[in-house]
């Protein structure tokens, strides 16, 4: 199968991010970037599907700054065959619609059987791009897959719903977004890392449109106030209950 995986280059979850001088963007200094973890599940799933099949191609597509090549290399080192990087300024990357539009234009030309992506990017928590991509390509979207099987030209996923599981099916081609638990992404092997160096990354400028919204301000969460100890032993229980009811109003 020809599988396209859309991936994003995002700040590492372990990095402490700082707000930039303009008060509405992140200060990139000292921030380490990684392949978005949900996209890693998508890459792994694509590789597994083709390994089971015995052939096919996995193409990674990303919209991002030139530095996003390093995250793309991670996907190539895991085993993807080639990549397309649609270059754009970091600051232009907050709007899901324009990213989905750019991706859709590119994905159209690739004529994939399956389009995989993470359920969300861990930087902006947009949850939008996968679904919008399906809409723009006029394809069905199976979102937050925790299991995926493909047979007879159909994709079947299982996803978690409140209190249970839901099984859904759609004809190929379709868009599938990956949830944590779909698989255990492999470690890029040393051979994979060495081969990734030789795999092509096609670079083109992304024609991003102006987003429909604007970020006005970013602020840090308020400092947590210090905790309070109301007393010790069983005698304190009554006071604790009173405070939880009257002051915190949680019971």
């Amino acid at each position: 199968m020809k599988i396209v995986v859309c991936v994003k280059h995002v700040p590492d979850t372990e990095t402490k991010v700082a707000i930039g001088d303009d008060g509405k963007s992140l200060n990139p200094a000292g921030v380490k970037y990684i392949l978005n973890p949900y996209d890693e599940f998508a890459v792994e799933e694509a590789l597994k599907l083709n390994e089971a099949d015995g052939d096919g191609e996995v193409i990674v597509v990303s919209v991002g700054p030139e530095a996003a090549q390093s995250s793309i290399r991670t996907a190539l080192a895991m085993g993807a065959d080639r990549a397309v990087l649609l270059t754009a300024e970091e600051s232009a990357l907050m709007d899901g619609v324009s990213i989905a539009q750019v991706l859709a234009e590119e994905v159209k030309t690739l004529e994939a059987d399956v389009i995989l992506t993470g359920k969300m990017a861990i930087d902006d928590y947009g949850y939008q791009v996968g679904s919008m991509l399906g809409e723009l390509l006029n394809l069905p979207v199976l979102s937050t897959a925790r299991e995926l099987t493909i047979s007879d030209g159909k994709a079947t996923i299982v996803r978690d719903i409140e209190g249970g599981k839901e099984t859904m099916e759609a004809p190929l081609p379709c868009v599938i977004t990956a949830e944590k638990g779909l698989n255990e992404p492999r470690y890029p092997s040393l051979k994979g890392i060495m081969q990734a160096k030789k795999k092509p990354i096609e670079m083109k400028e992304a024609a991003l449109t102006d987003g429909g919204f604007e970020i006005l301000e970013m602020t840090y969460p308020p400092e947590k106030p210090a905790g309070r100890i109301v007393g010790e032993g069983p005698e304190a229980a009554a006071e604790l209950v009173r405070l939880l009811r009257d002051e915190a109003k949680v019971i």
């Binding site: 590492d12 372990e14 390093s70 890029p188 092997s189 051979k191 890392i193 060495m194």
Partner: protein
């Protein structure tokens, strides 16, 4: 590429290229996620997590700097060093396993073996399907291996080996032993002895208080007949085993920095959160001095080791440079492990924390592959031109 978030006071990793960083990340993540959950129980039991060997092979950790033709990854020596750094951040026993397999068994077969030997052994050693060991040290000859008494007598198409090797990492697990012995002309030769050969036994050495997650044994050779085609054809003399040791010590030098870094990070974390006299112990001058000395020593060792790696990649590394780095790095790591243990107070003596395990391991690392004293004499010899071994 996202560099590993680890001790890096002087932007050491700033000169790593994308491949080197990615390789370090792979080794780091694998060790932390797959190996670390097993180490305490294996250390207590005195066993190695054999179930992880196929994964190590799959990822390419064995003989990673050897050519692709034999199933290896053909990475440069700095990247190879970074793997050793990450393995030994986990445990010296884990790094020892990879060092023996890659530098002491695969490297000599690749360097000195026949085409047939290379084809036959290297791919299976690379994948971890076969495990190798390296038999040089004898009960009576450690620092002075040239005095070895293990003998090989030619008999038709075979050699007949007699003698005993001692302190051999992985010998009880090995499918293949590279045994060094003197032939009838008193020339040291390398013999590839397969498990199952009559007269080849590998009793395990028990009661170790160091490197417990690494299996150590003897090799006992009693009229052990080895086909002449199992002799390494392209090397004669003590230079053979010594050149292998240079390869392995190169990896140890990186590993020691990894072990030291693991200890320092443990010390720093603990000192920042442990409250005594109403404040974190990291706020006391005596503790800060310990921590500052640690980061100072680690930083110096990082650059020394990186320079050694860049020299090796240029084909310009000399064995005395490897000796100087081993002298420096292993002692430094041992001192940091002990110092970390003191910062942890009583907590430092239990296996929930790593520093005492590292300290115990590093006692072996200080001794094997040339003791600290012998490396001092190698450096002394190099700078004065006078041999002081005898």
């Amino acid at each position: 590429m996202a560099q590993l978030q680890t001790t890096d006071f002087m932007d050491w990793s700033g000169s790593f290229d994308d491949q080197e960083i990615m390789i370090q990340n792979t080794a780091h993540d694998w060790v932390q996620e797959r190996f670390m959950p097993t180490i305490r129980s294996h250390y207590q039991a005195g066993t190695f997590p054999m179930e992880l060997v196929p994964e190590m092979g799959e990822l390419g950790f064995f003989g990673a700097n050897l050519p692709e033709t034999y199933g290896c990854a053909d990475i440069n020596n700095v990247a190879y060093g970074l793997i050793m750094h990450e393995l030994e951040r986990g445990d010296s026993g884990l790094r020892s396993f990879a060092s023996v397999q890659g530098a002491l068994v695969m490297w000599p077969i690749w360097q000195y073996g026949s085409d047939e030997q290379k084809q036959k052994w290297l791919p299976k050693l690379a994948s971890g399907e076969l495990i190798g060991c390296f038999g040089l040290t004898e009960p009576g000859h450690g620092s002075d291996p040239g005095g070895m008494v293990t003998r090989a007598r030619k008999d038709g198409d075979n050699y007949v080996l007699n003698g005993a090797k001692m302190w051999i990492t992985n010998s009880p697990l090995a499918h293949l032993a590279l045994v060094w012995a003197k032939d009838e002309q008193d020339v040291v030769r390398g013999f590839l002895v397969e498990r199952g050969t009559p007269g080849f036994e590998t009793p395990e050495i028990r009661g170790k208080l160091s490197l417990r997650a690494s299996v150590t044994g003897e090799i006992v050779l009693q009229d052990c007949r080895v086909p002449a085609k199992n002799v390494l054809p392209n090397i004669q003399g003590l230079r053979g085993p010594l050149s292998c040791l240079t390869q392995a010590r190169y990896g140890i030098n990186w590993g020691a920095v990894g072990a030291a870094t693991d200890c320092y990070e443990e010390a720093l974390d603990y000192a920042k959160s442990r409250i005594q006299f109403d404040q974190p112990i990291a706020g006391f001058q005596l503790t800060q001095q310990k921590l500052a000395e640690m980061v100072n020593e680690i930083t110096k060792a990082q650059f020394l080791t990186l320079q050694l790696g860049r020299l090796k990649d240029r084909g310009e590394m000399h064995h005395w440079q490897v000796s100087l780095t081993k002298m420096n790095n292993v002692r430094m790591a041992l001192e940091i492990a002990r110092s970390t243990r003191t910062i942890l107070g009583a907590s430092g003596i239990v296996d929930e924390y790593a520093s005492m395990r590292h300290a115990n391991n590093l006692e072996s690392v200080l001794t094997y592959e040339g003791t600290h004293e012998i490396h001092t004499l190698v450096v002394g010899n190099q700078i004065t031109g006078i041999e002081a071994f005898r």
